[in-house]
Amino acid sequence: MAVEVDSAAQFTEFAHPERLVSGDWLEAHLGTPGLVVVESDEDVLLYETGHIEGAVKIDWHTDLNDPVVRDYIDGAGFAKLLGSKGIGRDTTVVIYGDKNNWWAAYALWVFTLFGHEDVRLLDGGRAKWEAEGRAYTTAAESATPVDYPVVERDDSKIRAYKDDVLAHLGNPLVDVRSPEEFSGERTTAPAYPEEGALRAGHIPSAQNVPWAKAVAEDGTFKPVPELDAIYRDGAGLKDGDSIVAYCRIGERSSHTWFVLTHLLGFEGVRNYDGSWTEWGSTVRVPIVKGSEPGAVPAK
C-alpha cells in the first residue's frame, strides 16, 4: 500500500518524480501507516545527536555490508534488518542523510538491489531539513518488528563487477571522483601512505563528473536543464547508452546512479561498487593518468 507521492512542482520535470519527497511532504506525512523514514549517514553517530521523529537508522558499514566478504548482506540478512526496522515489502521508505544524501542514495541503491519497490529520498537531506528549521528528536529508535520476505539480491541490472566493466569498455563510463583522484595526482606526503588502491588514475575513456555537481547550493538536486547540461552536453551521455558509474568504493557513484536513473531517466545504468579500490589494485587492468579520458585499449 504505497503512500501517495509528493506532487510538488519542483519534481515534475524529473523522469521519476515519485522518487523524491520534500520537507513539507514528509512533515505532513510523518506517522502515516505504511511509511517508514530511514536515516543513513556517513557519520555513524549523527542519528543519535538528533533525527526526524520516528525515523530508524540504517548504517552502511554496520548494517548493509557483509562483515566478512566485501559484498552486501544477503537476502536473509536484508529481511532480518528491514523487518527489525518495521519495514515490510510494501512499505514506502523515505531515506535521508548527511552530505547531500550521499549515503542515503547508497542505501537506496542497496534497497533496489533487493527489489524493494517504493524507496524515495528526502530532497536535500539533513542539511535542508535543518535549514528549514524543522524538528529533530533524540528519542531512542523504536520500531515494531514486522516480517520482511527473504528476497535474494539481483546484481545483474544495476550493479557491475570488475569483469563487467572490462567487457563494457567502449561504452560510457562516468568517474564521479574529484579531479585530483581522476588524474592520478598524489598530494599526500610520503609519511602518510594513501590507503585503498595501489595505483592512481582512472579507467580508460571515463568522463570525470564529480558527484556533487548534481547538487544545488541548498543540498537539493539541480533541475533537469542543469543536469542535462552536465551529463548529456558535458559528459556526452545519450538515451539508450549503457552506462557504468564508479568512484572509490561505490558510494558517491550510487548518488550519480540515482541522478541518471531516476531524475534523467537513463535505463540500464550500473554502479561499479568495486570502484577504484578494486580497479586500482588489480593486476594488468588498463589505467589512464591525467585529466583526459584517454582511449579505449584494443582488446
Binding site: D43, V44, L45, L46, E48, T49, H61, A191, Y192, E195
Partner: protein
C-alpha cells in the same frame, strides 16, 4: 589481554567501553563527542597551527603542545556534524591528558582497535582514530626534536 603499561585514563576508557553492549558503546562515544573541550583562548585564532587529519572522512584538526615539564597537551577541532570524529578526538584528548612525552610515545599504536569500537563503528571508521593517534605522536616527536 593485559597491557600493564597503558596509562591509567586510557585503560579506564577501554574498560568503560568494553563493559558495555555494542549499542551502548555508541552512546558512550556520543558522550565523549559532547565533551570535546573548546580550544583555549590562546589557540582560537591560530588555525595555522593545526594539522588536518586526512585519514578522517570529516574535517578534524589537531595540534599538540609540549610544556616545560614535558607534559603533552593535545587540542582538537572537529565540527558538530561529525560526532564520531569528535568522539575519537575527545577520547584521545582525555586519555592523553597529563601524560609525559615518553608516556604518549609509548601508547600502543593499536590502542583504537582495542577499545571495543571496531564492531560498533566499523574497522574502516576506526582507522580515523588510529590516524589521529599516529599524527599526535608524530607531532610530539617533532616537537622534542626541534
Amino acid at each position: 589481554m593485559t597491557t600493564p603499561d597503558l596509562p591509567e585514563q586510557l585503560a579506564e576508557i577501554r574498560e568503560d567501553f568494553l563493559g558495555l553492549e555494542v549499542r551502548e558503546r555508541l552512546q558512550l562515544l556520543l558522550e565523549f563527542s559532547n565533551e570535546l573541550p573548546e580550544l583555549p583562548e590562546r589557540y582560537r585564532d591560530h588555525p595555522d597551527l593545526f594539522e588536518r587529519v586526512e585519514e578522517c572522512q570529516s574535517p578534524v584538526f589537531i595540534f599538540t603542545e609540549v610544556d616545560d615539564a614535558r607534559i603533552v597537551h593535545l587540542f582538537a577541532i572537529a565540527p558538530k556534524e561529525a560526532p564520531t570524529t569528535r568522539g575519537f578526538a575527545s577520547i584521545l584528548v582525555q586519555g592523553l591528558a597529563g601524560l609525559t612525552v615518553e608516556e604518549v610515545l609509548a601508547v600502543p599504536d593499536d590502542y583504537p582497535q582495542t577499545i571495543g569500537l571496531t564492531e560498533a563503528v566499523s574497522p574502516l571508521r576506526i582507522r580515523g582514530m588510529t590516524a589521529l593517534l599516529g599524527r599526535a605522536k608524530r607531532q610530539v616527536r617533532e616537537k622534542i626534536a626541534a
